[in-house]
């Protein structure tokens, strides 16, 4: 008996909950502001995620790039004076930050050091087969191709090598990623503004009678449009703040995870970057909200 009444209770409760849930969903659909806050949030989250990847990969890329060097091998019969002149010419090329001379003896020592035990055969060489060389460090890896071309034109150079493919690939990939981020940002701005402007349009429509009376009794244009602009601004800020909270939480999780399993990856975690990102995203959302309400206020309020 008591068991049965318990079952009934549960069924009633479930039905009530379903009804309440349905009601909530329906009121959500009737509340354009909430819907558009969620759309703005999705837009801003997409931009944030892209930006987070782009910024981090750029930082990683920059670190890898700082290790990129060009190796310049010299003609065997270059006299010391010419070597020095060549070194100076390389140093004078734009983008070059350091030029290190490596004589053939040093090169051999380094090779031995690198090979360790297995380099024993190097001790038996009659003549050092390695040429003299320069190690050239660059400010930015994307200059490697141009600098290498410049070095080729100098006299006394027998060969120039650098991790060309690799550097070019990295630079290209980062460029694409930033381009995508830009496109996503534009789409998000347009999408968020459109949804806000639609919400404001509905809002203006819902209050058209009040607006008509306000105009007739002499309310200023600023007074009439202020609440609508505020509404757009609030939607923009609320949506982007929610997006920021979501992305920031995910990112902090990622940071902790990376730190524990792959701490060599230089993921950005300093608070200044983070603060900048949060403020930037919210400002971006605010701009989208303002743009959206400005469009609707101009078109539908005709003030």
């Amino acid at each position: 008996m008591s068991g049965m009444s318990c079952e009934v209770d549960t069924a009633v409760k479930l039905r009530t909950m379903a009804a309440l849930g349905g009601q909530a969903l329906r009121s959500l659909r009737k509340t354009p502001a909430l819907t558009s806050i969620m759309v703005v949030m999705a837009c801003m989250a997409a931009v944030s995620i892209f930006a987070v990847f782009a910024v981090n990969l750029t930082a990683i890329g920059r670190q890898l790039q700082s290790q990129v060097q060009i190796r310049v091998f010299l003609d065997q019969n270059t006299v010391p004076d010419d070597k020095e002149a060549l070194g100076n010419s390389i140093r004078a090329l734009p983008g070059v930050i350091k030029v290190e001379y490596v004589s053939q003896d040093e090169a051999l020592d380094r090779l031995k050091l690198q090979m360790g035990e297995s380099g024993f055969f190097l001790n038996d060489l009659e003549r050092n087969p390695l040429p003299d060389s320069f190690n050239v460090s660059l400010a930015r890896a994307e200059d490697a191709r141009a600098v290498a071309a410049g070095i080729w034109k100098l006299t006394g150079v027998s060969d120039v090598i650098y991790g060309q493919k690799w550097v070019d690939n990295l630079v290209g990939a980062l460029r694409v990623l930033w381009g995508l981020t830009g496109i996503v940002a534009c789409l998000a701005l347009v999408g968020a503004s459109l949804i806000v402007s639609n919400t404001i349009r509905l809002s203006v429509f819902a209050r058209r009678k009040e607006i008509e009376i306000m105009k007739l009794v002499g309310a200023t244009d600023g007074f009439i449009l202020f609440p609508f602009v505020m509404e757009g601004l609030v939607i923009g800020i609320a949506g982007s703040a929610a997006a920021t909270a979501l992305v920031a939480a995910g990112y902090l999780g990622l940071v902790t995870w990376v730190k524990s399993v792959a701490s060599f990856i230089p993921i950005i975690r300093d608070p200044i970057h983070m603060r900048f990102a949060v403020i930037g995203t919210v400002a971006f959302g605010a701009i989208a909200g303002l743009a959206g309400s400005a469009v609707s206020v101009r078109r539908y309020l005709k003030v």
Binding site: K209, E210, E212, I213, M214, K215, L216, V217, G218, A219, T220, D221, F223, I224
Partner: protein, 228 residues
């Protein structure tokens, strides 16, 4: 108070609502604007509060050239003009009191000012006892009284009424007319467009008759149909 010189209005569709209207209305006058439907009565009235601007000609209100008014000066003009329409234009979700107070709130009057003026306006139209009623609880004549209270709450020097009795029965119409006469008696200029032959003939005030956008009759103490 109101002066029009050669006022012409051509609407986008090509309709010539007004054609060279000259008109002068003094302070404290009571003027009926009559004429068949489409004669241009509403257009003429809207020239005064800058609801529209003339295609040609000049409109002066209280010594200001209304056509030349800057955008930000238009609200200031409208604060000195009370406007009443056939359909009352009340906000259904606000009480009588709040509907009248609305006109002051949106021009950023102080709460003290609002608390002082609204009861005076409601008293003037005889609706003090219905201040907390909602518009849909009122009869048509009462709703129009609320609209009139809203029009006079800011002490305008002109009241413009566009067919204020259009939706009312004859008795209620006469009540509304008496109210407008009271307001006029206090020195406020009243300009009213109407199809109501009864009230025009009963009151015998100045009548301006329009036909196809032209003033065909302007008579002090006239009737709805003129001499004939």
């Amino acid at each position: 108070m109101v002066k029009m010189y050669g006022v012409t209005r051509v609407y986008a569709g090509g309709a010539q609502a007004l054609r060279g209207v000259n008109l002068s209305i003094d302070k404290g006058e009571f003027v009926f604007v009559v004429g068949p439907s489409g004669a241009g009565k509403s257009t003429l009235l809207s020239m005064i509060y800058r609801g529209t601007v003339p295609t040609n000609g000049q409109v002066w209100v209280a010594g200001r050239n209304v056509v030349r008014l800057r955008w930000r000066e238009v609200p200031l003009l409208r604060r000195r003009i009370g406007i009443v329409f056939q359909d009352f234009k009340l906000l259904p979700d606000r009480s009588v009191y709040d509907n009248v107070a609305f006109a002051l709130e949106v021009i950023e009057a102080s709460p003290r000012e609002i608390a002082k003026r609204v009861p005076l306006a409601l008293d003037m139209v005889g609706l003090s006892h219905k201040a907390q009623a909602m518009p849909d609880e009122l009869a048509g004549g009462e709703q129009q009284r609320v609209a009139i209270a809203r029009a006079i709450v800011n002490d305008p020097f002109i009241v413009i009424a566009d067919e204020p009795t259009g939706n009312l029965d004859p008795d209620t119409s006469m009540d509304i007319m008496n109210l407008l006469c009271d307001i006029n008696m206090r020195g406020t200029t009243v300009i009213m467009a109407t199809h109501n032959q009864l009230v025009v003939d009963r009151l015998r005030r100045r009548v301006v008759q329009l036909d196809e956008g032209i003033v065909v009759r302007d008579e002090l103490r006239g009737g709805y149909c003129g001499e004939a």
